[in-house]
Amino acid sequence: MEVVISIAIGVLAGSGVWLLLRPRTFQVLLGLALLSYAVNLFIFATGSLSIRAEPIIVPGQPADLLHYTDPMPQALVLTAIVIGFATTALFLVVLLALRGLSGTDHVDGREEAR
């Protein structure tokens, strides 16, 4: 499972960075979104991956990470998702504003000279 998650994070982050470096604003937006997915998965994964473990300490079971999953990264990732969503939406608004003002979707507001 660790390998699958690592590969997923790597692919997401790699595609995110590649899109981030593209000249079109929408590509940058998607890049930022993918990057934040990668980061969210990464945070989630720091709380030890386990199947069928609740983030609750059950009475009668020892309170270690073998028997329950760490609730902290889940709380963190929830906050990070909310904040990331809001800022990405804000970026989308600015993207549209720039498109309207400059008439092009290039990140610099004008096409490159050829």
Binding site: M72, T79, V94, A97, S102
Partner: protein, 565 residues
């Protein structure tokens, strides 16, 4: 201090966050209406914030060196689990600086800029909340949350006034900061993975027990976190967003943004000194060389930029980069005297940069007026400094200039005098010339560099760094002086026959206030320097900070009252 007074201070710690949050929420209820009422509320909130922050600073100062930090537990949970707000000398200094710059920027905005957008006042208060929260919080994740609050408000403020240039600069600024926030999250998650806690003091306490196999992970996490911070501190090579953003922003927003670069520096200083103190074994000053040399590169970059810039707002923006570089390099040496001088420099240079951003608008306006009077949109009414330069009829033997006008007895308009004097004070502080605080701060830093404890006779690279820093510090002052004298001649001296600038008292007041604070910093240099060096001592010996946080106990619940029979 003990008893009820200390208790009051402890509770006041939450006020710099709650007050702006409350007033911003109230303002949002008004929607697009009630601008005058919002302005009044904003001013009241800023004044109250300045009062609270100053009283916190005074309380911290009067408590003496015995106490390093004040801790407030907002939700009354036991320490490593609940969130904490921590006030120490550094955060008190930053709070006061933010409060006064915020007040000045707001007063400046009241005369014109508040009308350029709907939610200016709410965004302004949220920005203050984010800044204050970042200075007060005691754990990594809340630092992230307050960074985001501050940044989201700053996106709005940067776009305030709209226009293609602002939107364009805003797009780049938002993209860069979103990536930096992602890095911040990665760093925070790695720290949590290694240390199992997010409280700064708790992480610092546990760092010694981390097995050497995990050390690499810890260092990588802190380095990723550091990259996120130095991108916000506008450190080379991650500072290319600063110039377009800060020069495009409306002047009140830019004045407030001058503090924002210092938040990045604050975070670096806080985390680095807590995690890798000079005494600890194994992790002794991890990354010190990197901090010093990155700081020096930033200093060099900013110096060249200041030297070459042809417009005043660009000079001011580059001077912020110079200031960031100086601070980072000075902090990297981890010598208390040097860090103390750097903190004093931080206060003075930030005040001067903010005043400069406000002044740029007034200067540019007088230039635009002079170049094309028909285009001037500045209303003449309510401009008390508008005075006529044409005096009474000349006596026949009067001393005349080239254009046959009287040379003696020609009134210099009061507005021009104000602009020139303010420009001179800002330039002297920025360039670090006597008698202002920039000079004193540089003297303190250079003295500390020349008499370092344990730095001389240390490694060759430390010595090389110290000499490079010394040279760059002096050269940066020279470059700022050359650039500012050149621009002063162009803006204030050379123009002939322009109508005097139309200034309002409400616009001059905030600039005057910031400059008075700069002068006050020189007059009170003794106490101020004592305070900043005490702050530096506390930073570089973090045991007392850690003890203060870890020994904070939640308030016990009140004893249950017996039910009345």
């Amino acid at each position: 201090m003990n008893g009820p007074a200390a208790n009051a201070v402890t509770h006041l710690i939450a006020a710099p966050i709650l007050l702006p949050l409350l007033s911003a929420a109230l303002m949002l209820l008004g929607g697009a209406r009630w601008r005058p009422q919002k302005a009044v509320l904003n001013v009241i909130s800023c004044l109250a914030g300045a009062g609270i922050c100053t009283s916190l600073l005074v309380a911290v100062d009067t408590a003496g060196a015995a106490r390093a930090a004040w801790v407030y537990l907002p939700s009354n949970w036991p320490v490593p689990f609940g969130i904490v707000l921590v006030l120490d000398r550094l955060s008190a200094t930053m709070l006061v600086l933010t409060a006064f710059i915020g007040l000045a920027a707001l007063l400046f905005a009241l005369s014109r800029w508040q009308r350029a957008g709907v939610h200016f006042h709410s965004l302004f208060q949220l920005q203050l909340m984010g800044l204050n929260g970042a200075f007060l919080t005691g754990d990594v994740f809340n630092l992230f949350v307050f960074f985001e609050v501050m940044l989201v408000a700053s996106y709005g403020l940067l776009l305030h006034g709209s226009g293609e240039r602002r939107v364009h600069a805003g797009l780049h600024y938002i993209a860069v900061n979103l990536v930096a926030s992602s890095l911040f999250l990665i760093g925070a998650a790695m720290l949590y993975g290694v240390a199992g806690t997010l409280s700064l003091a708790d992480i610092a306490r546990k760092l010694g027990q981390i097995p050497s196999a995990d050390r690499g992970l810890l260092h990588a996490g802190v380095a990723v976190l550091g990259i996120a911070f130095i991108a916000k501190a506008a450190v080379w090579p991650l500072n290319f967003w600063l110039l377009p953003a800060y020069t495009a922003a409306s002047p009140p927003a830019a004045a407030l943004f001058a503090v924002m670069t210092k938040v990045g520096f604050y975070a670096v200083l806080r985390i680095w000194t807590l995690f890798f103190p000079t005494g600890s074994s194994g992790t002794f000053l991890f990354g010190a060389d990197a901090l010093i040399w990155i700081g020096l590169a930033t200093l060099a970059f900013g110096t060249i930029g200041v030297w070459g810039a042809q417009r005043l707002d660009r000079v001011v923006a580059f001077s912020l980069i110079v200031s960031s570089g100086t601070l980072l390099a000075a902090a990297g040496f981890a010598v208390p005297e040097l860090t103390g001088g750097a903190l004093y420099y931080l206060v003075g240079s930030t005040l001067a940069a903010s005043a400069f951003f406000l002044l740029v608008e007034l200067l540019e306006r007088s230039r635009r007026l002079g170049d094309d009077p028909a285009l001037s949109e500045v209303p003449r009414e309510g401009a008390p400094f508008m005075e006529s330069t044409t005096g009474p009829a000349l006596p026949p033997d009067a001393n005349l200039d080239d254009e046959e006008r009287a040379l003696i007895g020609r009134a210099i308009p009061a507005g021009l005098v104000f602009l020139s004097l303010s420009f001179a004070v800002c330039a002297l502080v920025t360039a670090g010339l006597p008698p202002f605080s920039g000079f004193l701060a540089k003297v303190v830093m250079l003295t500390a560099l020349l008499h370092p404890r344990g730095l001389w006779g240390g490694s060759v690279s430390a010595e090389l760094a110290a000499w490079t820093f010394l040279a760059l510090l002096i050269i940066s002052g020279l470059a700022a002086m050359i650039a500012l004298v050149r621009l002063g001649i162009r803006y204030l001296w050379a123009p002939q026959g322009r109508p005097p600038p139309a200034l309002r008292i409400s616009e001059c007041l905030p600039v005057g206030m910031l400059l008075t604070l700069c002068v006050g910093l020189v007059i009170g240099a003794g106490p101020a320097l004592r305070f900043t060096s005490s702050a530096a001592e506390t930073l570089l010996r973090p045991e007392r900070y850690i003890d203060a946080v870890m020994s904070a106990r939640p308030v016990p619940p009140p004893p249950a009252r017996k039910a009345e029979p």
